[in-house]
């Protein structure tokens, strides 16, 4: 991964966060499937750093079955409680990596939930 690739991802993140332009956000989701580990990692980081704003994109990716083994964990990282039923559904997926990602996502989600009574 070269500096220009990071710059591109950073530009996508900035445009998406500033304008809400969905195609810019989608490009980050697509980058999760890059063959370059650096690109994958930075794209995932930017999505998680965007927090709840990434939830619709993550939901869309889940529905499309796009980069599931990463987006299911991201759903947990950003605390997307609304996507819990989707994650539950994927815990029984035939692909063990996807099923594990869904279980991990659910676990992370549960760990971020405030204790009862708070």
């Amino acid at each position: 991964m070269g500096p220009w690739q990071v710059a591109r991802l950073y530009a996508l993140k900035s445009v998406w966060n500033a304008t809400g332009l969905r195609s810019a956000g989608r490009a980050l989701v697509e980058a999760l499937g890059s063959t370059d580990a650096g690109v994958r990692t930075v794209a995932g980081m930017f999505l998680v750093q965007s927090g709840k704003r990434a939830e619709p994109l993550v939901e869309e990716a889940i529905h499309r079955g796009q980069n599931l083994s990463t987006v299911l964990v991201i759903a947990g990282d950003i605390g997307a409680v609304r996507l819990e039923p989707e994650l539950l559904r994927f815990t029984k997926d035939a692909d063990p990596q996807v099923a594990k990602a869904a279980r991990d996502g659910l676990r992370i989600l549960a760990a971020q939930r405030p204790p009862r009574g708070v």
Binding site: A37, V73, I74, D77, D104, R107, I108
Partner: protein, 422 residues
């Protein structure tokens, strides 16, 4: 009373017909296959040993509790909300419980209330008086009383399901010869009785049951009613026996963010694993149950990873092992270290610096070495620091730029003699 005796004989007759000729022992029942279909309505209360009868009774008694607590109303509201929010088709669930299952069990429409009854009142409602408080297995006289009264109180409940008839059914069921039914009755009894002590006693005994289902139901119920019960604490104590092997000097790789599925760190063929095993640490852990964490990019994900790593090390009795970590795998290792895991050498490869959130516990680690490249782009994106400033951590910056992953390339280790830096 005469009517009840008749009923009782009929019940006994049915019991004989439905069982295989001799009453099933508790242990046998626990191993029995789950019944294919529940026995609906008061009919369920005609047998005292047959697994289908026993489980149908237990389910009915537990449902009484869910109605009394208001769980059903809450589940119903949640189901309505979910239908509204998610626009999913109704599954025909009544009260949040599958309508078909409720129908199959013949559970009556129940009027819940906040009434609480004294045991004597419930015994009176059941038309029976017991000499002693309920405990473990019923005495012969209690068993006779249960046999003669159970169907009667069940019928009364199905005729008019209210807290009093439910309470009477539960009161009699507390002396049921089958432990699962006693435990189920005790679970719901706390919702109708003025004093839960007798139910807690039965639940406490249920924890020691040989029947796994009875044990599980008792544990769940007791956790709600009496969470500090000493019997529960015993159950919660870890049963994992620590290995008697001597702690061995070994090493392990901890991967970083999103890298769980990557091949480079996986034994026995991952290129970095193979390189370390062949050139640096022949004891590098390579069994199938090697440690792995979610690789999630959040504090919560790393905290879970740290917790799991600590548990893994304890379970394998590998305290003092060397850890070769990449990226936030180092953060996970430091969290495990802070939580009490002893580490030999902690090797941090391209680890983002988030001090003091992720810092080693220097009293529990022999040596910390950090190896990185110049201006790591992934660490920039992570907003982490590029260098540790604590002089107890040996920093080595390789003459490479930008590449976050170069620190786990075997070629890099060879070219820059990284082994000599450890």
């Amino acid at each position: 009373m005469a009517k009840h005796r008749k009923t009782s004989r009929r019940g006994e007759y049915r019991k004989r017909v439905r069982t295989t000729g001799r009453p099933a022992s508790r242990a046998e029942t626990s191993k029995a296959r789950p019944p294919r279909a529940p026995i609906p309505g008061p009919e369920a209360f005609t047998g005292l040993e047959d697994p289908s009868h026993v489980r149908s009774q237990a389910a009915t008694l537990l449902l009484i509790g869910t109605h009394m607590r208001g769980d059903v109303a809450a589940m119903d509201a949640r189901a309505r909300e979910a239908r509204g929010l998610m626009r999913v088709r109704s599954t025909g669930a009544a009260g949040g419980l599958p309508a078909n299952d409720m129908r199959a069990l013949g559970f009556p429409r129940m009027h819940a209330g906040a009434a609480r009854f004294l045991p004597a009142t419930l015994e009176k409602a059941a038309g029976v008086r017991f000499a002693a408080r309920p405990g473990g297995a019923p005495t012969p006289s209690e068993a006779r009383a249960v046999s003669s009264r159970l169907l009667g109180v069940a019928k009364a409940f199905y005729r008019d399901a209210n807290p009093e008839t439910a309470g009477a059914l539960l009161e009699v069921s507390l002396r049921h010869p089958h432990e699962l039914v006693r435990v189920a009755a005790a679970t719901s009894y706390v919702e109708v009785a003025a004093d839960p002590a007798r139910a807690i006693r039965i639940l406490g005994q249920g924890l020691r049951s040989r029947d796994r289902l009875a044990r599980d139901v008792a544990a769940h119920a007791l956790a709600h009613v009496d969470p500090r019960n000493p019997a529960l604490e015993k159950l919660l104590a870890s049963k994992t026996r620590p290995s008697r092997r001597k702690p061995s000097r070994t090493g392990m790789i901890v991967h970083g963010t999103w890298a769980g599925a990557s091949s480079w760190w996986q034994p026995p063929t991952g290129d970095f694993w193979k390189y370390l095993h062949d050139n640096v640490d022949p004891n590098l852990y390579g069994a199938q149950d090697r440690f792995e964490w979610s690789g999630g990019y959040s504090d919560a994900a790393r905290a879970l990873g740290g917790h799991d790593l600590q548990a893994w090390v304890q379970q394998h009795t590998l305290g003092g092992l060397d850890l070769f970590t990449h990226s936030h795998g180092g953060s996970v290792a430091m969290l495990a270290n802070q939580a009490g895991t002893s580490i030999g050498r902690l090797v941090l490869l391209s680890c983002p610096v988030h001090w003091p959130k992720y810092a080693p516990d220097f009293t529990r680690v022999s040596k910390v070495v950090s190896i990185r490249v110049h201006v790591d782009l992934v660490i920039l994106a992570d907003r982490g620091g590029q260098r540790f400033r604590d002089n107890r951590i040996q920093e080595h910056v390789l003459p490479l730029w930008f590449d976050h992953f170069a620190t786990h390339f075997p070629g890099t280790w060879e070219q820059f003699h990284v082994r000599s830096m450890l």
